[in-house]
C-alpha cells in the first residue's frame, strides 16, 4: 500500500491524541493527564495510541504501557457504549452489592471473567468505593447515580437507559 496514504490515515486517527498532547505541552511528567485525556476521546487506549503518545513525549513505550496498566482508570480493551459502575466498597458490600452484580450479569448475559455484553451496549465495572456510602448499595450508569438499589430494580434501570437511547436516535 501507498506509504503516504498510510501516514495520512494514521495522522487522521491520531488527531484527537495530538490535541491532548498539545494541550499538555508534550510534557512527559504529565503522562497521566495525557492518557486520561486520550482515553476520554477514544474511550480506550489501543496499542497504537500508547505508542504514539510514547513517541510524542519521548518516553519508551514500555514506560507508557507500564503506567497505563498500573492505574485502574485506564482500559486497554474497548468498552461498551454505557458503563455501569457498581460500587463494591465496604458499605455497599455489606448491603448486598454482590447480589446486584449477579442481577446485572444475568440480565445482560455477561459471563464470569467478562465485563462487556455481547451487543457492546454495556460494560460492568466494580469499583472499590464511589464515596456515596450513605446510599449503599450504589450503582452508576454513565453519570447517573442510583442509590439503595435492589436486585429487582436492575432491569428497570437498564431498560430506562435503552429507552433513552431510542428516543435520541428518533
Amino acid at each position: 500500500m501507498d506509504k503516504a496514504k498510510v501516514a495520512a490515515e494514521m495522522a487522521d486517527r491520531m488527531k484527537g491524541a495530538e490535541e491532548v498532547l498539545k494541550a499538555n505541552n508534550y510534557d512527559k511528567t504529565r503522562l497521566v493527564p495525557i492518557l486520561q485525556g486520550v482515553q476520554e476521546k477514544y474511550r480506550w487506549l489501543s496499542q497504537d495510541l500508547l505508542s504514539y503518545v510514547a513517541r510524542a513525549v519521548g518516553l519508551p513505550p514500555a514506560r507508557v504501557y507500564g503506567v497505563a496498566t498500573f492505574y485502574a482508570h485506564f482500559t486497554l480493551k474497548p468498552k461498551g457504549k454505557h458503563i455501569i459502575k457498581l460500587c463494591d466498597g465496604t458499605a455497599c458490600h455489606v448491603k448486598g452489592s454482590t447480589k446486584l452484580l449477579d442481577a446485572i450479569r444475568n440480565k445482560l448475559g455477561i459471563k464470569e471473567g467478562e465485563d462487556t455484553s455481547r451487543d457492546g451496549l454495556f460494560t460492568v465495572d466494580t469499583v472499590s468505593c464511589l464515596g456515596a456510602c450513605g446510599l449503599a448499595p450504589v450503582l452508576v450508569v454513565d453519570t447517573e447515580v442510583h442509590g439503595q438499589v435492589k436486585p429487582d430494580q436492575v432491569e428497570a434501570i437498564l431498560n430506562a437507559v435503552l429507552e433513552k437511547d431510542k428516543n435520541v436516535t428518533k
Binding site: F70, Y71, A72, H73, T90, A91, G131, C133, G134
Partner: protein, 632 residues
C-alpha cells in the same frame, strides 16, 4: 463582587449585608447522595413555584444584587445526613426538611415561605420514638456532633465571598502577614493536630521538618486520594467547602516557605475535581492565590491533579511518583518527603481533612482547639457512618467520643436486613477500612482516639465506620478486605504482593469449608510476617482486618473450620439446605428435581435431605412451592 485588591474584611461585610437583606434562604443539599435522590429536580421545581407566586428570588449572591424582599435559593455540599436526603433547609427558621420531592415544592412555598408554617410531614421523624424534629439544633443525629471541619457545610461551595464572610482566609492572612514560618509551625505543634489520613503523625512536626530543609523550591501536596472503601469525608469537604482546603494549603505553604501546591483528587470524584478547580480559579481572581499573596510579594500557586485509580497512591511516596507521571509505587523511607519529595524537593503531604482543620486553629488558637478531644488526640474527627445503622451519613465528633454514642445516639441504633431498628442485633464495627480492624460489643464504651484504637488492633485510618449486624460473617469481611488490598497491592515488595495473595487464598479456604485448624495458625503467621516486612503502609496494615477478626471473633473462625458452619449464614459453600417439616406437604417435587438423589421421603410426609450427598445446587429450593426449603 470582591475585586482584584481584595480586602477580606470589606468583602465579608458586604456579603453579610446582602444576607441580612434577604427574607428567607432555602439551602438545597447538592452532595452526591442528595443529587442522586433528585435534589436538583426539586430545586428547579421550587424556583418555578416561587416565580409562579410572583416572589423575587436570587440564585447567585456572588454576582447578583439582592432583589427586594428576595428569597435566596442556594446549593450546598454534602450536609452529612445522606440517609434522609434530599435535604432542604429553610433559614432563618432553622427548618430541615428531609426526603423532599419535586412534588413538595408547592406546599413548601405555600406554607413555609409565604405563611411561615412548618410542613410537619417533611420533618425528620425519629424511628425510635416517632417524634418529629424541626432542625439540626434538635435532631439527635446533628445535636450530638461537634462540627469544625463540617461546620460550614451549608454554605454555597461556589461562592468565595460566602466563605470569606464566615471568617474564611482570615487564618491564611494572619499566617502570611503577621507571623513568621517558625511561629506558624509552633502554633500547629502547640495545637497537637495529628494527620487525619490514617497515620496520625503530628502535623506541626511534619511542617517543621520541611521548613528545616533548605531549598528554594518546596511543595505542598493535598492528598485527596481517598481510596478507603467506606470513607467519603474528604470528598464531602472538597465538594462542600473547597476553600477551607485551599486555605489550609496556604497556611502550610507559609509555614514551610513553599511556592507551589498540588491537590491530588481521585478521578472517581468528578464533582470534587470541578469544585476545587473552580475554587482555585476564584481565589486567583480575587487575588488571594497567585503571584502576590496578601501584598507580601511572595507567590503561591495551586494545581489540580486527577488520580487515575490506584489505592496505593494514598501512600506519600507513591502519590509523588504518580504526580511525576510514573507508576504509583512507594519508595522506602527515609529519605522522607520532607527532605526529598516531589521532583526531589522538600515536600509536605497532608490529607484533606487535616488541611481543612488548619483554618480553625489559625483563627481560634491552639488552646481552643485543645479544649476538644483527648490530650493525645486533640480536636474532632469526621467519620463516615455506614452499614447496618439507622442514620447513615457523615459525622464529626471530638476524639474521645465512645462508639456507643456514635452508633446508638448519632446513628440511631443497629438495623436488621430490612432496615428496621433491632438493638440486640449489634455484632461489630469495622473502623479504618482495609487498614483497620473490627471492634466488638465489649468495646462500645471505648473512647475513640488514635492511641486507644491502636491498643485494640484497629486504627482511625481515614475514618470509615461500618456497623455490622449479626447477619454479617466476620471471616467473609476479612476476606472482602483482603480481596481489596490484594487487588490494590502495587507488587513492588514481595511480602505484600505474595502475602496478601496467600492470606486471601487461606480466607477463601475458610469460607469454602476447605480449611482446618492449622489454616488459622498459618493465616496468623502469614499476617504477622506481612505486617513486619512490607515496604509501605498499605502492606503493613493489610493484615489488620485478619488479625483483629481472628482476635475478637475466633469462635466464628473455629465454627467455619471445625464444624463447616457459618453462624451468620452468609457463606454459600457452607450452607446446608434443610426441609422445614411443618411447611413440607410431601409432594416429592424436590426429590424429583434433585440431580444427585439426596432427597428422600414418603409422599404426604415431610421429606429429608441427606447432607453428605447434597451438592448445594439449589434446585430443590427453586422447585418448592411452599417455601419449605431453607438454608441455601
Amino acid at each position: 463582587m470582591c475585586n482584584k485588591t481584595i480586602d477580606i474584611g470589606v468583602c465579608a461585610r458586604e456579603y453579610n449585608e446582602k444576607l441580612s437583606a434577604l427574607k428567607k434562604r432555602i439551602i438545597i443539599c447538592a452532595g452526591t447522595g442528595c443529587v442522586a435522590n433528585g435534589s436538583l429536580v426539586f430545586r428547579d421545581a421550587l424556583i418555578k413555584e416561587l416565580e409562579k407566586n410572583n416572589l423575587n428570588i436570587n440564585t447567585n449572591l456572588e454576582k447578583e444584587d439582592v432583589r427586594k424582599d428576595s428569597h435566596y435559593v442556594s446549593e450546598s455540599g454534602c450536609q452529612g445526613f445522606c440517609q434522609m436526603g434530599p435535604l432542604v433547609r429553610i433559614e432563618p427558621d432553622g427548618i430541615l426538611y428531609t426526603k423532599v420531592k419535586a412534588a413538595d415544592a408547592a406546599e413548601i412555598v405555600e406554607k413555609t415561605i409565604l405563611k411561615g408554617e412548618v410542613v410537619e410531614r417533611l420533618l425528620y421523624q425519629s424511628p425510635i420514638d416517632g417524634k418529629h424534629y424541626l432542625g439540626d439544633h434538635d435532631i439527635p443525629f446533628y445535636k450530638r456532633q461537634h462540627r469544625i471541619v463540617l461546620a460550614n457545610c451549608t454554605i454555597e461551595p461556589a461562592s468565595i465571598s460566602e466563605y470569606i464572610a464566615r471568617r474564611g482566609y482570615e487564618g491564611a492572612k494572619k499566617a502570611w502577614t503577621a507571623m513568621q514560618p517558625e511561629e506558624v509551625c509552633k502554633l500547629l505543634e502547640d495545637s497537637g493536630l495529628r494527620g487525619r489520613g490514617g497515620g496520625g503523625f503530628p502535623t506541626g512536626r511534619k511542617w517543621r521538618l520541611t521548613l528545616a530543609s533548605k531549598n528554594d523550591v518546596k511543595y505542598i501536596i493535598c492528598n485527596g486520594d481517598e481510596g478507603d472503601p467506606g470513607a467519603f469525608m474528604d470528598r464531602s469537604v472538597m465538594e462542600g467547602n473547597p476553600h477551607s482546603v485551599l486555605e489550609g494549603m496556604m497556611v502550610a505553604a507559609r509555614a514551610v516557605e513553599a511556592c507551589e501546591g498540588y491537590v491530588y483528587v481521585r478521578a472517581e470524584y468528578p464533582l470534587a475535581v470541578e469544585r476545587v478547580r473552580a475554587a482555585i480559579h476564584d481565589a486567583e481572581r480575587v487575588g488571594i492565590l497567585g503571584e502576590d499573596i496578601f501584598g507580601t510579594g511572595k507567590p503561591f500557586k495551586i494545581h489540580v491533579m486527577e488520580g487515575a485509580g490506584a489505592f496505593v497512591c494514598g501512600e506519600e511516596t507513591a502519590l509523588i511518583a504518580s504526580i511525576e507521571g510514573k507508576r504509583g509505587m512507594p519508595m522506602p523511607k527515609p529519605p522522607f518527603p520532607a527532605q526529598h519529595g516531589l521532583w526531589g524537593k522538600p515536600t509536605v503531604i497532608n490529607n484533606v481533612e487535616t488541611l481543612a482543620t488548619v483554618p480553625y486553629i489559625m483563627r481560634e488558637g491552639a488552646a481552643k482547639f485543645r479544649e476538644l478531644g483527648t490530650p493525645n488526640s486533640p480536636g474532632t474527627k469526621t467519620f463516615a457512618l455506614t452499614g447496618h445503622v439507622a442514620n447513615t451519613g457523615l459525622i464529626e465528633v471530638p476524639f474521645g467520643t465512645t462508639l456507643n454514642e456514635i452508633v446508638n445516639e448519632i446513628g440511631g441504633g443497629v438495623t436488621d436486613a430490612d432496615g428496621h431498628i433491632s438493638p440486640d442485633n449489634f455484632k461489630s464495627v469495622q473502623i479504618g477500612g482495609p487498614s483497620g480492624g473490627c471492634l466488638t460489643k465489649e468495646m462500645l464504651t471505648l473512647p475513640l482516639d488514635f492511641d486507644s484504637l491502636r491498643g485494640v488492633g484497629a486504627m482511625v485510618g481515614s475514618g470509615g465506620l461500618v456497623v455490622m449486624n449479626q447477619q454479617t460473617c466476620m471471616p467473609a469481611v476479612a476476606k472482602f478486605f483482603m480481596g481489596f488490598t490484594q487487588n490494590e497491592s502495587c507488587g513492588k515488595c514481595v511480602p505484600c504482593r505474595e502475602g496478601t495473595k496467600q492470606m486471601l487464598a487461606l480466607l477463601k479456604d475458610i469460607t469454602n469449608g476447605d480449611a482446618t485448624e492449622e489454616t488459622l495458625a498459618l493465616l496468623e503467621e502469614t499476617a504477622k510476617a506481612v505486617r513486619l516486612a512490607s515496604l509501605c503502609g498499605l502492606g503493613k496494615t493489610a493484615p489488620n482486618p485478619v488479625l483483629s477478626t481472628l482476635r475478637h471473633f475466633r469462635e466464628e473462625y473455629l465454627e467455619h473450620v471445625l464444624h463447616k458452619r457459618c453462624p451468620a449464614g452468609q457463606c454459600a459453600a457452607l450452607a446446608m439446605p434443610e426441609i422445614l417439616p411443618d411447611k413440607c406437604k410431601g409432594c416429592s417435587l424436590c426429590a424429583k428435581k434433585c440431580p444427585v438423589g439426596a432427597i428422600t421421603g414418603e409422599l404426604k410426609k415431610p421429606f429429608k435431605i441427606d447432607g453428605s450427598k447434597c451438592i448445594k445446587c439449589g434446585a430443590c429450593k427453586a422447585a418448592c412451592k411452599f417455601g419449605a426449603v431453607t438454608g441455601i
